[in-house]
Amino acid sequence: MFSPDFSPVTVIGGGIAGTTSAIALARHGFPVTLIDEQPAAGGQIFRAPSPYARKTVPPNHEFSGGDALRQKLAASPVNVRFSTRVWGLSPALTLDLIGPDGIDQLPPSTVVVANGATERFLPFQGWTTPRITGLAGASILMRDGGTLPGQTVVVAGSGPLLFSVAHQVLELGGKVAAIVDAGHRSDWLRLGAMLSLDPARLTQATSWMLRLRKAGIPIHHRAHISTAQETETGLLLTVSDMDHPERRHVYAAEATACGYGLKPTTLITRTAGVQHRHDPIGGYLEPVTDVAGRTSHPDLYVTGDAAGIRGMAVARLRGLITAHAIAQDRGGISAQTYETLTRAPLRQLRRLEAVSRRMLPLMNAGSAIPAHLQDETIVCRCERVKAVTLRSAIEAGAEDLNQLKAWTRCGMGPCQGRMCEDSARGLLTAACGNTPEEAGSFTARMPFFPLPLTAVTGTFAYSDIPLPKAAPL
């Protein structure tokens, strides 16, 4: 009845979703290649800690969970390519890679995109001064480097990472001067009421909150950092109430970690041309997928947070379900077997997703900030573009992000708009009243990150260059 198609599958991203998917695909009999930019599997949450961090950071769930995942991967027949990044791809899904041996290309295969999330950052006056980092960056520094961003830290932004990062600062012996949250306190209480559906999250949240309360850390809800000033010893941070800007607090700290939730990483899926949609609750663009990660491209699947931010536990389930779906789509298993294999994971997924969706508005609580940026605030750090420059381009008729980019250079720099896209879009939609869909996204361009020119050229002689025929006289 079946003529299974066991042609190769490539999984991009060795986090929990990608690794789980790769192992399950190999078990179904597919030749699987797993690509990740880090030297080991684990992604952001289960990242392999440095030997120093193993000594300084107290044993935790992320270390043990990551180690277990890496062991399972090592015991599987999955072909791994670590320290390797995808810098481009074709619609037929040829992947352009750069790794320890330079540039390479993978022929078309079925591709599972599991490249996770990107932190959303929203600017404030003075944010480009040193000692200011993202929440995710601070977490990596502490969890996997065993190093504090500063002895005293103001933790700011929105979403659950606020409390995770504050907890990690205390864990390493640092001091949290304040937690500044753009979200409403009542939204957190509503989320708390749902946590009984997700006992693991409930336990973690309770222990964090108890510890933070014991340390007597001030928490400001519906507030944001409005300015940062560099001082001799660190930073002077002004915290403003979002609904009553005249209500202010000033904190001195050695560093601040600030981030406004997560968004799916979409460079690869956008380049592949799959259909995307704007999720109004998450405030981000996500690829349109079914529950198993199928997209509008028949050979491209998206799994884990890359398909919409749902967190670690959902990512693992999604990775598994995607692998089973590919097995079914390729005739490796019957629809009935698929149903049997996915019944329990799908049930679990639905329960956990209900909680995850509650987190989205908390992560997106800063969405009104870009509309009120001060004129002199830098929006695009790579190209030093200020809010006032964007506003005057919008006034001249730039009504979508790409026109804004062309006329101001905002988003043209090395980070390809990862840092400024959300604030530029927020500013644009507020100024001309168009929707996020109309404002669009910066066109994704290859390479996805700067490539050494010599990696492209390699060793060559002049006669190796296939010069096209001369232009007309």
Binding site: A393, A396, G413, R445, V456, L467, A470, P472
Partner: protein, 384 residues
């Protein structure tokens, strides 16, 4: 004009389809000449070739016959404040075209000669002289053609300047509005049907300036002119310390290399990518990326320190004889075309101004660009 027509907001003296350099310049000068002008684009203005090209002001790469126009176009860019109202950042630099093999040297001398004959101040110089002018070039070159009149513009900046000038001149800009058909209107003029409008935009006269999309539109008016669409690759590096001060190219014309004021180096030259202008989407051909970048690194060895920041593709349209289409399409003088100009960014503003002059009743010499030279309109084509 009947009162009924007058009351309709979408009736114009002239409707221009295609808001790039050619169409926008035509629009600007027509509006200043007292015409009521609408400028329509399928996307935002200046987002196709005019906004993403290499920004080279070049006499080396422009077709020999177009040298006089390129010289005038270059002057307009350098004096943009005078006619566009703001400085678009055009910079005058020398230009060097290089030869590394015997065959290339022969080509270089031939190309330099025909351009000299057309008035370009190009002279062939020794390798030593080339290295003196531009210390960053590979000293193994055999010869170089030097032109004092080259330069460059950050092309992406130009659209914003045009937007402000056009609005000030009273041009109605209709963006993100793909044109579906153009038909003769009963009672004269043309109805331009736009996908997102219930009513057509009516022009007593029309100008087609839609670059790569011209073939289809000329077809609506009964002209069957095959227009080839080139999909030109561009590569930009991260900012570097100064490695060059001139615009560099090679003898066969397939490299353009320059460093902008911010330090980024732009590598172009017309290496091809893949794409389909009707279905949309373009893609880089990896071998062509490698070839183009190798050539650049060979010409300026210090580019080995660079990081490739971005690769993109821009469209260029070309007629069967690689000469422009500029002028009237009808004996009634109510439909015009401007486009398919080789190295069109350099001469673009001048070409647009010439067409505006022609439409306003002047008599500039456009004989070499006569759009009716390829075919006579089919009998059924132009009438609706």
């Amino acid at each position: 004009m009947t009162p009924a027509l007058q009351s309709r907001a979408d009736v114009f003296d002239i409707v221009i389809v295609g808001a790039g350099v050619m169409g926008a310049t035509t629009a600007l000068f027509l509006a200043r000449g007292g015409q009521k002008v609408a400028l329509i684009d399928r996307q935002d203005m200046f987002r196709a070739a005019s906004g993403v090209n290499a920004g080279t002001l070049t006499l080396h790469m422009t077709r020999a016959q177009l040298i006089p126009h390129a010289i005038r176009g270059r002057e307009m860019w350098l004096n943009s404040t005078a006619w566009l109202g703001e400085d678009v950042g055009a910079l005058a630099t020398p230009g060097l075209s290089m030869a590394f093999t015997e065959a290339e040297e022969e080509l270089l001398r031939q190309r330099a000669r025909v351009r000299q004959d057309m008035g370009a101040p190009i002279e062939v110089v020794s390798p030593q002289e080339a290295v003196r002018i531009e210390p960053g070039v590979n000293p193994t070159l055999r010869a170089a053609a030097y032109c004092a009149l080259d330069g460059h513009i950050p092309a992406y900046r130009v659209g914003g300047a045009y937007a402000r000038a056009l609005r000030q001149a009273g041009v109605t800009i209709i963006e993100n509005s793909p044109v579906e058909t153009i038909t003769h209107a009963t009672g004269g003029g043309y109805d331009v049907r736009v996908s997102n409008r219930a009513q057509p935009v009516h022009g007593h006269r029309i100008v087609l300036s839609a670059g790569a999309w011209l073939e289809k539109m000329l077809g609506w008016l009964g002209y069957n002119i095959p227009i080839r669409c080139l999909i030109n690759q561009l590569v930009v590096t991260e900012t570097l310390p100064p490695v060059m001060g001139s615009v560099l190219s090679i003898a066969n014309g397939l490299l353009s290399l320059k460093q902008f004021a911010n330090g980024s180096v732009l590598i172009g030259g017309g290496w091809q990518g893949e794409g389909n202008i009707h279905q949309g989407g373009t893609r880089v051909i990896p071998e062509n990326l490698r070839g183009n970048v190798r050539l650049a690194q060979y010409v300026v060895p210090r580019l080995d320190e660079a990081q490739v920041l971005r690769v993109w593709l821009g469209l260029e349209s070309e007629t069967p004889d690689a000469m422009p289409l500029i002028g009237a399409l009808t004996p009634d003088d109510d439909a015009f075309v401007v486009g398919c100009v080789h190295s069109g960014f350099t001469s673009g503003p001048y070409m647009g101004r010439l067409l505006a002059e022609r439409i306003l009743g002047g008599n500039p010499d456009l004989s070499a660009f006569d759009p009716t030279r390829f075919s006579t309109p089919t009998a059924t084509g132009p009438k609706s």
